[in-house]
């Protein structure tokens, strides 16, 4: 009996993921309504619940894919993978106001460059503060503080050691998760309630998963604006970090 149930679940892993996420959403929206009286949005609770479950699953399985490392829940990796994520993000653009997009165009583009430079130099500064002196290591950690893709891409092209590359991925991961969790909490204070602010936010943060999660938990209407700028961030970072920024760090450290 249970064997059969197990086989069915494994053969239909994506459907199991739909049920799993559906239950999380339902519980989270109930918790939002009754426990926080609507103060914390249901989707914010659901995203945090997802992260907490991912943490305990990772502790339990020792894997790197959160709950998706549990055999019955492998479908979560498909549902939450890049293909569906990007498909759904593009779909949110359907309701976008072209005028809003145009209004924030220049500032939005500027925020991408500022965002990459800011995170990079903060990350590089932290590396120096912790005693790193090798410009390759400093650059790679700085790049990781931008996103967890820029870090390893930069590290690989500069020939950084695998420990440094792992460190840079971890820095990006911390950033991405922190953005997801903290955005709904600080949104009001920083004025993140309109399309222009969302485009600036997407350009400054840059982590696609962090930005998409953070905005989903704050105001789903803002998602397409933030995602629009965030999607250029990693490319810009991969362009600047191993080239111009590395040369600057090299100059500064001699």
């Amino acid at each position: 009996m249970t064997d059969l149930l197990y086989i069915i679940a494994q053969k239909n892993s994506l459907l199991v993921a739909f049920v799993f996420v559906g239950v999380i959403m339902w519980l989270s929206y109930k918790a939002s309504k009754y426990l926080t009286v609507g103060h914390l949005h249901g989707s914010a609770i659901a995203i945090m619940a997802g992260l907490i479950l991912a943490y305990f699953s990772g502790q339990y399985t020792g894997g790197s894919k959160g709950v998706a490392d549990i055999e019955l829940l492998t479908g979560v990796a498909i549902m939450g993978g890049g293909m569906f994520r990007d498909f759904a993000i593009v779909a949110t653009a359907f309701g976008v106001n072209v005028e809003d997009l145009r209004k924030a165009g220049v500032v939005g583009a500027a925020s991408i460059i500022i965002g990459v430079l800011l995170s990079f130099f903060v990350g590089a500064g932290v590396a120096v503060a912790f005693g790193y002196t090798d410009p390759v290591a400093i650059t790679t950690i700085g790049a990781g503080a931008a996103t967890y893709i820029i870090g390893p891409v930069t590290g690989a092209s500069l020939g950084a050691s695998s420990e440094i590359i792992a460190l840079s991925i971890a820095a990006g991961l911390v950033k991405s998760i922190l953005v997801m969790v903290s955005t709904p909490l600080v949104a009001k204070r920083i004025g993140l309630d309109n399309p222009t602010a969302a485009m600036i936010y997407g350009g400054l943060m840059g982590t696609t998963s962090g930005v998409s999660g953070g905005l989903a938990a704050t105001d789903p209407k803002l998602v397409p604006y933030g995602a629009m700028t965030a999607t250029f961030y990693t490319g810009v970072g991969c362009l600047l970090a191993p080239s111009v920024l590395y040369l600057i760090i090299k100059q500064l450290s001699t």
């Binding site: 989707s43 209004k103 800011l118 820029i150 971890a170 997801m180 920083i190 700028t229």
Partner: protein, 125 residues
């Protein structure tokens, strides 16, 4: 038909990702540059075409809006598959770098917002 909407959405996403990869190769970067953004612009462009050239009827539109509504559940699934253990146990350097990057980035939003508002005011003059 609902599949028209789904098909157009998938087409835009694929074209965007392909273009993003091409740009990445052209500028010599090992990453996709703006793929999702390009796909979004393409979809916005199609949605705003003059009706006699291209028009999605209401039912076909549901093929797009369904996926737009599935966005949050998909993000919850994405959160549930993060390597949260690695992030929590990554040591002081990674945590400090990640946290400070977020704090500084948040702090930059209000000044950039003022800059954008000032530009608008000047234009209105």
């Amino acid at each position: 038909m609902i599949i028209y909407g789904v098909a157009i959405l998938a087409f835009c996403t694929l074209v965007g990702k392909y273009t993003g990869d091409l740009i990445g190769i052209m500028i010599g970067v090992q990453s996709n540059v703006g793929g999702v953004g390009i796909a979004m612009l393409l979809l916005i462009l199609l949605a705003n075409f003059p009706k006699r050239i291209f028009h999605l009827d209401e039912i076909s539109q549901k093929g797009v809006t369904f996926w737009s509504a599935m966005y949050i559940p998909i993000i919850v699934a994405m959160a549930a598959k993060q390597n949260a253990v690695a992030a929590m146990s990554s040591g002081a350097v990674a945590i400090t770098a990640g946290v400070l990057a977020v704090v500084f980035s948040f702090a930059m939003i209000p000044p950039l917002m003022r800059l954008s508002n000032n530009r608008d005011i000047k234009k209105d003059d």
